[in-house]
Every structure is written in structure tokens, then in C-alpha cells.
Symmetry: D3
Subunit: 234 residues, 6 copies
């Protein structure tokens, strides 16, 4: 299968979904990742948006190597992502490019702006996948992918419907997260735990629910014609 | 009374609301229909957005004859409808043009993009109906219409608050739906039941709730000053 | 696996869950059914609660033959089921007797009294399955079954989380429902469609959501230690 | 029509529903009121539960005269009302006695114990109305009444679905409330506004929503076969 | 502390939040108010949007004097407020300008268009407060303010989580509201109670919940890093 | 102040609330704990319900010493707790005995049977606190305590409204939990993490939300007259 993880910022995918991607990868599936923004305001140390974006894209490419993914950057402005025809078109192009069987993205109830805009727009484009006459730069696709939402940063406003046991891939997940070096100091100014420990805690907490050391939790997007197939999860 | 059905695409109104409109018509009320888009990506057979739009507008006009409605096309792009001042103004103009006592529209929780944008924007314009100074091309109106949301395509995310028994108008409803000939083959590529059978099933299912062969279900928009009056339903 | 369907009345299981049970059966699993009541007020034609119960139990046994299930009757009074130690104990005994991997029961949000009491009490007994010191007449079991809730009569207050395609077993499902002969006339006094047609409609409507002719929809009970495993569904 | 108001305590009906009952009465309908308890702990001044009950029943009879209702007391203990076969049977008897077209009762989400137990049990008995074989002392009835829930004491946890304009009956409503003399001092120990002023405030607040001086708000019970008909409201 | 009240229209703050602001002021805190629009369609008597805006800004400045606030007008069009980079930037600037410990704004579930857009966008900008690289005209701030949503016009769709007793400041609150003279006649065309009486009723109703003559109710915005601190409320 | 923690089983209070109790204790408040059951089915190693109860009561008394609480056992059967007049009376007696300013209890949405029954019944008794004529063995009290619900075992179905930072008391909290020695082996048969590590994880996860190492999260019970005062939390 083709698996697409569509996030808002570099590190979103590693933080919330990489354990699951690593399981897909180990089972021989093909992984695609895409980001609506390159997180170009995500530093108070690096100077200037271009430089932040360049740094973070490089980190993202390193991270994606850990789970062997192809990467696509849409390069809209971090904290500047707004519903518009241009953003919709770029998202649709990317969804068609990956030709996915399963899509993962942020959660629409996440209060972080880019997270909910990305998530909402990925959902908005689902019905456009097969349409020949939708303005787009990639040809239509005929698959009807399942779309799952990943967790929020500290689990707020999010109760998983389904869990993936990531005990076996937790180490590699943290390895991929560790590539986002620029975020470690930045995040430490906001939190009392380090960025990787934060990630480990969220995984351990979701694991509690299913009686396993580590898990990632997901909710499903539902529209008739594109209903979730839970059996496609690893 | 004046009744306005405000949909996102040709066939939305016939699919979810025509049974009710036919009852209003039979009782002597005046029917208006309006569409934010002409469904110009709604075919993989017809070539080009202009041609699809032209075909579907013609079908919509035929369908509206079955329940005797005046029709207004706003002609925004299918799957390209975004919240903006231009769309809001066109919607407000249309609402004032119909001078309605009751309005029906899509449901804001519908995951189909144009459906929720249309619905949200119709709701957004309610408080602008009487304002002299709102930029618009139609004069203010003083009625305070009740606004009802119709069902989603397969009933997902939608629990009706109120039902209209359409047993007597079901045949004519299907007749109006049948005018949307271009959609029959298109829909059949997505579904295991035919388009009219799908419509019949939804009506029969909603009918179960009230112990009648066929019904349409609705939910209400509520804001103080424009609260729903259930007694205006047929 | 062992599959337990735990209903409130004769015909509940056939109406909402038999399509799924037939798929399990065809795959070689063992089916158990249990009923908290024998539906002893479920007729205005048959005279007396004992006679109604006897009739309906006989019908239930016939129905269960269609999907090859063992049956257990708890024989509490229809419309008289109340949360109490006695009912809880009988339910726990039955759950242990079946030693299930998957349990199905009514939905706690179902407004039909026996439905929500049965459902609530089956849920209440989940944590008692392994306890040696819980007063009971069956020995503890160590499995941690997934518990799923089936649909309500006309789908009210119920949005499925997961669907089972029952297109292949729909005919046999209706055959099992047909064994509940005493209910056909009784139900016809309340509804505008016949009992089997009602059942067919619900299945067809749930099928719409997943693009298949017939489906049964389910929601999951969740408590840590007994979380649903969607992959156990057929 | 026959209208039944089924409350938990003397003054519940006057506080939340009498404005509507007075409109029914004025239109020529027959009014029945019933109370699960006689409010026998509802005083710290009167000594003893029998005496409190006697006082409050007398007050209730006076209040009911204002809107011309027949009254039935079930006399279970205030704050002692528990789901049981005995309470259910008494409630069913009462519902059949009134042979109602419309029923009003407390709201199941009301955190006041007797309010939610009364409400839940009235709902539990709906499907028993027509059954010949349900143990009861009143014969079955064949009507399928609409059941509406009235407001909570300060509107907490309650958003009305439908409103009845009681501007014309507000004075008489307060007159009926005034009969519950024993409650005035008792209530004043808990509140910063007087009991009648509290009632007036709730009515005025609900009126705001519909742009009228006074209103009562209601929500509907829904089960297929007994769905609400909003047009039966005055 | 610095307290920021961020509303959509002149009079929003006075109507829903001034009682609380007055308590902060009395305790020596600094008050800032900002408005996304100057309510330039909010009259059918005054001619033209510029003139309405000028009138209403003058009234707002008078009102703000009552609770001693600094005022900032963003001057987007009333009923024309749309999510965009320009509006977001202006809102972010304003939030940084006030350097607040506590922010109040409209409620995102409010069906009034400008109310929910203002509220949503204030929430959207929370994570941008400390970022050096977010395009803005005010420098970053390091405080992590609590954000609270105030009530809706008639309390619809809003259940407070927390209440502030405004009994002592109610008179001054009404005094500040009275400065919005242009709204009195305008509002009277929609309502059966006068504008100040409407405000008094809402305060008295919220007071009922906590057993005090007058209160304002609030709900909290929550995202990790910017969680509400209820102890900062007066 | 007097603080009452009312749990269903020995270890509930230590697991979910002891960090907060320790803060109250350190501030000089008086702590009371009460348990509806003595957890007499909570072991598969100890033989017999009496012996389990005796063991666990002894452990509870040791645990309570850590935070200096008085303890009261109601001794209803674990997994046998049903809503009844007897249980209600025992709970009311206990609430009056503690004469609390703040009460903590399990959450009514917790799917663990005794947890939700205990929680529901504590809520049911709130309005009975001041009534002279409610059958009880303790005299009425006039305080109007705030009631808060603590977390569920793995946080399922629970989103805190408010958090208490327990970083300073976490060590002592775990010390009190460690007194429940009989539960350590028992819990290890169900979980992949040890009982104290489970507790630490829940605390660390709730801490994430507020940017602190450890926290306990709570939700509030609300009824007018007994609304939560968040400022009473430590």
C-alpha cells in the first residue's frame, strides 16, 4: 500500500505518527510525507523565515530517512495557513501524487492554527480525488483512502478511537524525532519536560489504554464513499 | 409564504428537500431555489467545466419545474467555494431576493466541502438581512425566517430534530431528481445502489423514525432573533 | 473464537446482529446467544406472560439454528429489568459461560428500557470476568473480550463507528428473523412497513455508508484493559 | 387533547410548565398532573415527613385549580426515588390514567435526583403504554403521545429545542406558583432572589431567545414510534 | 495584571464582560479593549458606514472611560470579517500591544458571524505571541495569558464553566452600556425588551446559577502551554 | 477547610487525588476519606471476601496516614454497589460527618461500575445535605461544598477542566499508593506497567497540559446552589 502522512510542520509527523509509519515500512509499504508549511516561524534563535525553513526542511529530510519516506514541501507560511483555492490545490496535488491507501493528518479539533487548517483542508479535498475537472496539476486517482487523524500535542480535546501498538518501533520513532535538532531548545522554553521525553510520555500514556508500553492513537474522518477501514492499520 | 432552498450543487435540493418543497407548493406557497455552484466538476464524462455547468444548470431548471420554483445560480466553482466577502454578498443578495419565511440549506456538519461552506455562509448572512448599510445589491428585508438544515448524503453526522412526512410527494420528488440525468452514471461509479434508489432509501429510513413510508429530516439553525418556528413546516 | 450476542428480547439479535454472526459462523467460530428477558410482554394476541415467553423462546431457538448458536435464557421480566445484584450475577454467569472473544449487545443510548438496561449491565460486568471472589456460579475467565454495541431500532441516537458488510448473509439474516413469527403481526400495529422490510431497510441504509448493499453498524465499549480490537470483526 | 404534566415535587410543574398548561386549558384541552413524590423532605420548618407531604399536597391541589387540572399523587419518598418495578408500575398506571396526547416531565440531565429519576422512568414506560401483558392496574392505551422535557431550575445543562410563548399566561402561572406557600421561606434560605422572582427571571430569559417577554423552553424525548410532534404545542 | 477584552463590535464588551473588567479595575489592574470592527453596519438610521463607525467609536471611547480602559480599533468591516493574513496580523499586533495576563473575547460557538470569526482568530493567534519570526508590527511577548470566552447574546449554545459575581459592579456596567446610545433604538426594532433590560436579564440569569443577584459567565480556551488559570479571575 | 475524598475502592483516592490532598494537608486543612466498598473482590490471591476486605482496609488506613486523614468505610460489596435507599443514606451520613467545603469523588462517566455508581450517588445526595427531614443518622449541614470528579484509570472519557500542580507532593503520593501492597501483584496481571509507574505516568501526562512535571486533573459537578468554586483548589 501507499501511506501518506500529511502534517502542518516539520516534527508533527515524527511526534504523532512515526511509530505507525515505521510499522508500515517494516511490512513493505511505501511511505510519503508532506507538509503544508516548513515551520518557518518555529525558532527564536535562527534569524529569518527563509533560514528557519531551510534548516527545518533539512531536518525533516533526515527524519524521513529513518522510516524511508519520500517528502514533499508545500511551503506555505507557518501560522499563515488560510483556507484558499491555492492551498486546496496544492494539497489536492499532493494527495494525488502519493496515490494513498491510507492518509494520516492532524486533528481538526487541535487548537494549534496550522494543525486544524491542514487537517480541515485535507478532509475538504477527499471528494476531489477522482474528479477529472477539478483544477489540479496531478491526474485523478481512483482509490478511496481511509483518513485518520493523529493526536494533539498533549492529548487535549482528543480521545482516540483506535490505537496502534508502537512498542517495537518506539526507539526508531525517537530517533526520527531527534533529527529535529532546531526544535529541542525552542521547545524547552515552553515545557518542563524535554521534547523527546514529552513524546515518550504521550506514547506511554496512549499505551496504557491498550495495556502496552507504547501506542499511537487515532480518530477517523468519515464521509460516505471514504469510510475508514480499520483493518488497514498495522 | 416564500420558501427558499439554498444548495451547493444541482441535485442537492432534489435529493434532500424536494419532498417538502412539493408539499409547500401544493399548499400554495412560492418556491425559490438557489445554488452556490453549478456543480462544474461533477462529471468525468462531459469535457470541461463550462460544459458541465451548462448541462447541470439545464437539468436543474427542469427539476425545478416539477415543483414550480424560480431558480438563481451563483456560479462559484464547485469544490472551490471559500468564505469570502464576494461569496457572502452573493448569498445575501439571493436571500433578500427570495424574501423567505423559511430557508432550507445543507448541514454545516456535512463533510462535503461545498455543502458545509454553503451552509455556514447562509447562516452567516442571517443577521445581515435587515441591515441597510451592509454592502449588497438587493434591498433589506424585515422578515425573520426560520432556517433548517437538510440531511447528509448517507445520513452521517446527522440526527434529525424534526421530520416532514413526504409519502404523498415521494413520486414527484423522484421525478425531479430524475432530471439530473448527467449525475446518474457519475454517481454509479461511486455507489452500489443507483442514485434514485439511494434517494428512496434515505427517505424510507427517515420515514421509519416517524412510522411513515417516506420522510425528510431536518435540523434547525438557532440564533436569538431568528429562532426556528417548527409550525411553518408542512 | 467464541462470539457472544447478548440481547434484551427475542428478535433483537436477529434484527441487529445476525448478519455478522453468520459471517463468524461461516468462518468457523462458535456462536453463543443470551437474552435477559424472554420478551414476555411482547404480544397483545397471545394471552399471559408465561405463554408469550414460551412462544418466543421456541422462536428464538429456531432462529438461533440458522446461525448455529447455543442459547441461554435469563428470563427476567420484559420491561421489568432493573439494575440489581441478581440481574448482574445472571449476566456475569452468562458472560463467563460463553468465554467470549467478542461480545455484542444493545446500545446504552437506546431509549428502549430493556435495551439500555441490558447494555449497561453487560458493560458493568466486564471487569468482573477474571475475579475469583465475585459471587458467581461460573468460574472466572481470563480473556479480555472486545464489546460492541449494535444499532437501535430505527437508527436513532446511534452513529456507527464501524461497519460489517453483510451483503452475503442478508438472506440468511432475514431467514432467522422470520422465525419470530409472533412478532410480525404485533410489530405491524406500530409500523407502516413490515418487520422484515424494516430490517432490510436498516441494513440497506447502513450499507449506503460503506457503499455496499447491506451492512450492520456497531459502536465500541471502552475501558482500559478491555479496549475494542476492530480486527476481530468479520 | 389530554395533556399530562408529570413532575417530581409539588411546585415543579408550576415553576417550569404552568404557562404552557394554561394555554392548553384556554384552548379547551384537559389537563392532568401527577407527582412521583409529595416533596416530603421539602421543609426545615414543618416537622415530619407526613405533615410536610400533607401541606404540600394541599398546596398542589390549590395550584392545579388555577389551570383546572386533575391531580394524582404517587407518594414515593422525596430524595428516595429509585428505579424499581414498583415505581415503574405506578408511573405506567398514571400515564395510562391520563391517556395523554402530550406529556411533560422533568429533564433526565437535571442533576436534582428526583427530577432525573422521574424523567428517566417516565421515558422508560413509553413503550409499555399499549401492552396488554405489562403488569399494571390501568388498561392499555393506544395513543402515541409526544413527550417533552421542561427546563432545569436555573437552566443548567439545558438548551431548549422549542419554546412556548407564555406572555399571556405569565400572571396566572405566578398565581399558581404562589399557592406553594410553604416553599417560599424554604427557598429563600438558598437563593438571593425570591422564589417567584426566580421563576419570572427564568421565563424572561427563555423569552429573550424568541424575542417575547416570557417563554417556557422544552426538549423532546425521541424513540421511533413515539416521536415528538411539535405542532401539538400551543 | 494587564487585562485585554477583544470584541467584534462596540457594545460587545459592555454587554458581556464589563462587570468583570470593572472588578479588575477596582483591584488596580490595567484594562485594554480592542474591537475587530467598528460596527459600521450597525444602524438603519445613521446613513453610511463611515458615519456609523465614527458614531460608534465615539460611544465606545465613552464607554471605556467608565472602566478606565485604553481602546484600539482594528476597523475591519462589520459582517465582512473573514479569516485572512491581514486580520490575523492586526489581531496579533493588538494582543502583543496589550501584553495581557488574561484575555476575554467572544465565543466561537456564537452564531453571530463577526463574533465567531473574532473569537476563532484570537484563539488562532495565541501560539504566535512569543515568536520572533511571525510577521508582526509589535514585538513578541513572553506571558502565557489565560483566554476566556464570554456569553452569547441570549445565552444560546453557551453553558458557562465559571462565573464572576458582578453584583457590585452591575450599576456601572449598565452605565458603560448606556454610552452606546445609537444601539438603543436599533436594538429595540428586534427585541421585546430594551437593550439595557436585556443586559440586566442576562446578568440576573447567570447570577441565579451561583445564588447571587448578578453574574457574568465564561468558558475557557485550552491548548497546552496556554491553559486557563481560573484563579486570575476576580 | 474540611476536605472529603469519597472513593469506591481502597487505592482510588491515592491513585487519582492524593497529590491534591497532600497539598491541602500541608496548608493546614482537615482531610476525610470514605469508601463505598472495601474492594472485597480485589484479589485473586487472598481467599475470601472478608479477608480481602480486612487486608485492604488495613492498607487504606496506612495510606491515609501519609496525608493524615480520618477514614470511614461503608463496606458495600465491591462490584455489587447498586443505587438504593440504603446506599444513599450511608453516603449522605458520610458527607454530613465530614462537613466538607470541598468533595472529591470518582467520575460518573468512568466505565468501572463501582466508580460510576459511587460518583452518581455522591452527586445525588448533594441537595440532601441541609434537609432536616431526610432520613439520616447525621445532622444536616449548611455548607454548600464544591464537588469535583477525579480522573479515570487511563484517562479514558475524561478531559480535565482544571488541574492541580502536584509536583511537590508526587513522592508522597506514591508513598501512600505503595501502602496498597495487595494490589501490586493483582494489577500486574492486567497491565504492562507496574501500578506505581502507571500512576506516575498519569500524573506526568496531566502535567504536560499545564507545563509542569506532575498534575492531577478534575472536572466539576454543577447544580444551582452547589456550583464549583475553583479558588478552593490548592
Amino acid at each position: 500500500m501507499n501511506i501518506l502522512a500529511f502534517g502542518a510542520h516539520p516534527d508533527d509527523i515524527e511526534f504523532c505518527c512515526a511509530g505507525t509509519l515505521l510499522k508500515y515500512r517494516a511490512a513493505g509499504h511505501k511511505i510519503f510525507v508532506a507538509l503544508t508549511t516548513s515551520g518557518n516561524i518555529g525558532s527564536n534563535v535562527i534569524e529569518g523565515r527563509e533560514k528557519i525553513a531551510a534548516t527545518r526542511e533539512a531536518e525533516q529530510l533526515e527524519a524521513a530517512k529513518v522510516y524511508g519516506a519520500e517528502v514533499r514541501f508545500l511551503r506555505f507560511n507557518d501560522q499563515g495557513l488560510v483556507d484558499s483555492e491555492a492551498v486546496r490545490r496544492a494539497i489536492l496535488n499532493t494527495m494525488r501524487w502519493a496515490n494513498p491507501d491510507v492518509i494520516f493528518t492532524n486533528f481538526p479539533g487541535d487548537m494549534s492554527t496550522d494543525h486544524n487548517v491542514t487537517s480541515t483542508l485535507v478532509g475538504r479535498m477527499m471528494l476531489c480525488l477522482p474528479g477529472k475537472n477539478v483544477p489540479a496539476d496531478e491526474p485523478p486517482i481512483t482509490k478511496t483512502p481511509s483518513l485518520f487523524y493523529w493526536d494533539t500535542g498533549a492529548g487535549l480535546h482528543f480521545e482516540p478511537e483506535v490505537y496502534v501498538d508502537i512498542t517495537d518501533t518506539m526507539d526508531q520513532k525517537l530517533e526520527s524525532l531527534a533529527k529535529h535538532k532546531s526544535q529541542f531548545a525552542w521547545m524547552d522554553t515552553f515545557q518542563s519536560v524535554s521534547f523527546p521525553e514529552h513524546c515518550r510520555l504521550l506514547g506511554a500514556f496512549r499505551g496504557l489504554a491498550i495495556g502496552r508500553p507504547y501506542a499511537e492513537g487515532f480518530r477517523a474522518y468519515r464521509i460516505h464513499g471514504y469510510m475508514p477501514n480499520f483493518k488497514l492499520l498495522p
